[in-house]
């Protein structure tokens, strides 16, 4: 089976002044169904690695294959499309649209993937049900607890049936109880065969993963 992620000698240098080598040389392979955590202190380059993994940024060197597709040469348009189809994002700050219902928030990504309207709603309801928030479909996210909001964000990321779920400090804004509920959900998704990469500075979060890598000064340790 093709690995979900194949990074070979990836580097990312920000042109200065002064130039910053955020990622030096990273080799990283993520097999289907793996649950990886990337830990590192702030400034270690883990955010940059996440951007590269999520096709939000282009590496300045090396080869990156997502699902076997070499993404270096893709046009901006193709990259955007690939990102929408194959990667689900979960952010520390949830990034839910306020004053839109939970259902609308979850439907959002499918709108850009040209999923027909009827199917969108059905899939969104199913995913919301999957994260245990069926009773919250018509709520404004602002009225939900942090844990519930993050689960809505996970539902949104899952609707496109992504190859890779990328979570950036998913529990950073949550108290321990809510954090546990989100991490439990990750465990369940992993058990169902989803590929996950969680980026965190929190050891307790990273220990939940099947495999841990540490990044320090732009190099995987």
């Amino acid at each position: 089976m093709t690995p979900v992620v194949e990074m070979d000698g990836i580097g990312r240098t920000f042109t200065g002044p002064p130039p910053v080598e955020a990622i030096r040389t990273v080799d990283l392979t993520l097999e289907q169904g793996e649950y990886l955590s990337i830990v590192g202190p702030s400034g270690s380059g883990k955010s940059t690695l996440l951007h590269l993994l999520g096709l939000l940024d282009r590496p300045t060197g090396g080869v990156y294959r997502l699902d076997g597709i070499d993404v270096r040469t893709l046009s901006e348009r193709r990259r955007t499309r690939l990102r929408g189809e194959r990667i689900g994002f979960v952010f520390q700050a949830f990034h839910l649209l306020p004053r839109r219902t939970v259902l609308e928030n979850v439907e959002l990504a499918m709108m850009y993937l040209r999923v027909p309207r009827r199917e969108r709603t059905a899939r969104a309801r199913a995913t919301i049900d999957r994260v245990g928030l069926a009773h919250r479909c018509d709520f404004d996210p602002l009225t939900l607890s942090g844990g519930e909001r993050q689960r809505v964000a996970v539902a949104r990321a899952l609707t496109s049936e992504p190859s890779l779920l990328l979570a950036d400090e998913p529990t950073g804004n949550l108290d321990s109880e809510n954090a546990a509920s989100v991490l439990d959900l990750f465990d369940e998704l992993h058990a169902e065969g989803l590929t996950l990469a969680v980026i965190t500075h929190d050891d307790a979060v990273s220990r939940r993963a099947q495999r841990r890598v540490r990044i320090v000064d732009g190099v995987l340790a």
């Binding site: 939000l56 955007t80 990102r83 994002f89 040209r114």
Partner: protein, 400 residues
Amino acid sequence: MSVRDLCGEAVAGVATRPSRLALTTLGTVLGIAALVATLGLGQTAAGQISERFDAVAATRVVIEPAEREGPDGQVDATELPWDAPERLGRLAGVDSAGTYAAVDVGGASVVGLPVTAATGTLENVVPVAAASPGLFAAVGASLRTGRLYDSGHDERADRVVVLGKYAAERLGVNRVDSQPSVFIGNRAFTVVGIIDSVDHRSGILDAVVMPMGTARETYGLEAPEAVEIRTALGAAQQVGGQARLAVSPNDPDLLAADVPPPPGSLGDNVSADVNGLFLALGGLSLLVGGLGIANVTLLSVMERVSEIGLRRAVGAGRTHVAGQFLVESGLVGLIGGLIGAAAGVLTTVGVSVVRDWTPLLDTRLAVAAPLLGAVIGLVAGTYPAWRASTIEPIAALRSG
């Protein structure tokens, strides 16, 4: 992403910030309202000005029989019906209507019988005419003394006449309180009134005028020559279009309607100078309104960086993002235009009510104004939309 989705997102983007929407649209509302009110009041005022000058001419419609050459070369003609005034009276916009005809008295002379004239009778060639009672109102006749005959006289074919003021002079009649008579041939007619002036058909001032019924009964008048119609202000064109059909439903083509030219050109020139100033002010407020939309949309873009980043992260392209902000600002402009157009129309109507004017407003203006608002919104939104499209999705992860 379909157009429907795009519009849905834009509507949601605008609708979730109602207070901001109100502030943003203010400039456009004022600008469009100023434009519509200026143009509306300009048109209205122009209408009033031309009405004041042309009211007399602009309210007169005359119906006369016309001739038509038939297919076999014969000339068709029609006669005006006696009840034309009643038929026309049912049309909206007709203030008064009356029939008129010259009367052939068979060469009989018209003689006045002055009660106190020492020199005996005065004899003059005085034309004789017949008119239905409504004609006097239709031609704007005003009395010097006495009264006009009424429909009762007409129906009974009473031998009464009113005199035009010149006819009265020639016949030596200057008072009617003693019920003087004039003789046409050997028939005596009682003079009930003397007409001092008319707006149209000044021939009446030279004539002895009797009721239609009297002329029919006494002199065998066959049909009226013309129908004079006085319309409400601004209704002449419409009445002109309907009158022939009302008078002669079977053969309207055999009648000719003399209708005044539509109002406009004169008033347009008069109000052009005034309009110029207000249009400039309206344009200025539209410019300010557009800048306001641009400004707030730009602010909105900066505020929603994380939303934009998120959309980009979940698969929205740059064009999707740009399109959304463009449609949002266009929508804001459209809403401002709608409110502004409504306010402008209300202002026009309000001022017209206060000044007792007839509000005139080109309906195309009421439709074009909101569209203009939308266009302003779209133009104002181009720069913010472009800025939004350049925002990198990384921003979504960074901020917040």
